[in-house]
């Protein structure tokens, strides 16, 4: 557990640093993958960056709103930088809505954009897993294994590292898929299914997950999400293969060099 890092005498919150680095690397990869497909990667980068800002502001407004009585006497203190005075749900909502509106206004709500974003989202998730490792959150059940970590008074499964390793493998798989000729939506659906499967596996070793009738809630949710995503992926691939049969003889490049004029906005 490493909640703070000392760098040149400054105390830096290691979990926050890991999450921010994951977010920025994810944005960088998204922009790069977009540029490879002759889309404007800068716009995707901006959407993520401004979405982050909107998310932070929204999270603070949400926190102040929920604790209005405390902030009413000193409203200016709502402007003080503090990562603990944030309401996460409000932040996610504001950030995602702002990013979607930004993409819509810039005519970037295309069917292939979620595919391009998925590997970046997985990198962001690795930042979250690393942040949880630094903070000692989402910890594992006790286990005496050669690779156990000592956390909260016991030797435990390093579930945060299991998740990190799984996400790296998923990222590699998605990057390989990105360079195959697949229908729009295939990469994002495969990514969702793989991450949900990872959740089912990793949460089996977690000590802090709520259970219903002896079953972990997140594992149940993971199974439902994985099955749904795999079914949708199957539908998408079968629709595409029947479409390809109808267009037999039409040779398409694996990676389009220009933006596909036939791509329709969502």
């Amino acid at each position: 557990m490493l909640p703070t890092l000392r760098v040149f005498g400054l105390s830096i919150q290691a979990p926050l640093l890991a999450i921010m680095v994951g977010f920025m690397l994810g944005l960088w990869l998204t922009a790069r993958l977009a540029n490879e497909r002759n889309l404007n990667g800068n716009l995707l980068f901006d959407a993520g960056f401004y979405g982050l800002l909107a998310g932070v502001i929204g999270a603070r407004i949400g926190y102040v709103f929920l604790n209005f009585q405390a902030y009413a006497r000193e409203p200016l203190s709502a402007l003080m930088p503090s990562i603990t005075a944030l309401q996460p749900e409000a932040g996610w909502f504001c950030g995602v809505v702002f990013a979607v509106i930004f993409l819509w206004r810039n005519k970037m709500l295309r069917r292939d954009v979620p595919d391009i974003m998925m590997p970046g989202v997985v990198i962001f998730a690795t930042g979250l897993a690393l942040g949880a490792f630094f903070n000692g959150d989402a910890f594992g059940i006790p286990a005496q294994l050669p690779w156990s970590i000592y956390l909260w008074g016991e030797w435990r499964h390093p579930v945060q590292l299991y998740e990190l390793a799984g996400l790296v493998l998923i990222l590699a798989a998605l990057l390989i898929m990105m360079h195959r000729r697949l229908p729009a939506g295939a990469v994002v659906l495969a990514g969702i299914a793989l991450v949900a499967c990872l959740r089912v596996f990793v949460d089996g070793f977690r000590a802090d997950v709520a259970t219903v009738f002896g079953l972990r809630v997140t594992q149940l949710a993971g199974v439902v999400i994985a099955v749904t995503a795999l079914w949708l992926l199957g539908e998408r691939l079968s629709t595409d293969s029947s479409g390809s049969t109808a267009q037999a003889g039409v040779d398409e490049p694996a990676l389009p060099k220009k933006a596909d004029p036939g791509s329709s906005p969502l």
Binding site: P3, S11, N67, Q69, A70, Y71, S82, F139, D208
Partner: protein, 145 residues
């Protein structure tokens, strides 16, 4: 459940001396919501949040909230002088040998633990300075547990 410094676990017990020669233990504070603040007089963000902690201790004492400042490895006269200078009214304990700092895994100052009436840690804030509304919002959440 085993005592630990993670959110959701019972706060580890420790007994410390105060500048006026008394002793105080974390376990003895069960039944009150506790704001456990690790500080030192040389730490600028610690100094900056003292007034807010003082105010919250005064405003919420009647509602069963107590601010307990733990001075990190300074002598009793230094801590007492700082308390006079800042006009601190909340209880301060002295961690002269760093035992509480190690037990609570304090790696940066200030670090603040919010402990509910049953002795369970509900929130941790690394760094500062905390504003009065921020502390109040955390204390209000503590009282709802």
């Amino acid at each position: 459940m085993q005592a630990s410094t993670r959110i959701g676990a019972p706060a580890p017990d420790i007994t410390l001396g105060t500048p006026d020669g008394k002793t105080i233990s974390v376990a003895s504070l069960k039944g009150r919501a506790v704001v456990l603040n690790f500080w030192a007089s040389w730490c600028p963000p610690c100094r900056a949040e003292m007034a807010a902690l003082n105010q919250v201790d005064r405003d919420y004492r009647a509602r069963g909230v107590m601010v307990l400042g733990i001075n990190q490895m300074e002598s009793a006269p230094v801590a007492a002088a700082f308390m006079r200078e800042q006009q601190l009214q909340f209880t301060v304990a002295l961690d002269t040998d760093g035992q509480a700092t190690r037990l609570y895994r304090v790696s940066a100052l200030p670090t603040t633990y919010f402990i509910d009436k049953t002795g369970v840690i509900r929130d941790i804030i690394y760094g500062g300075p905390m504003t009065r509304p921020l502390i109040e919002s955390k204390v209000t959440a503590l009282l709802s547990h």
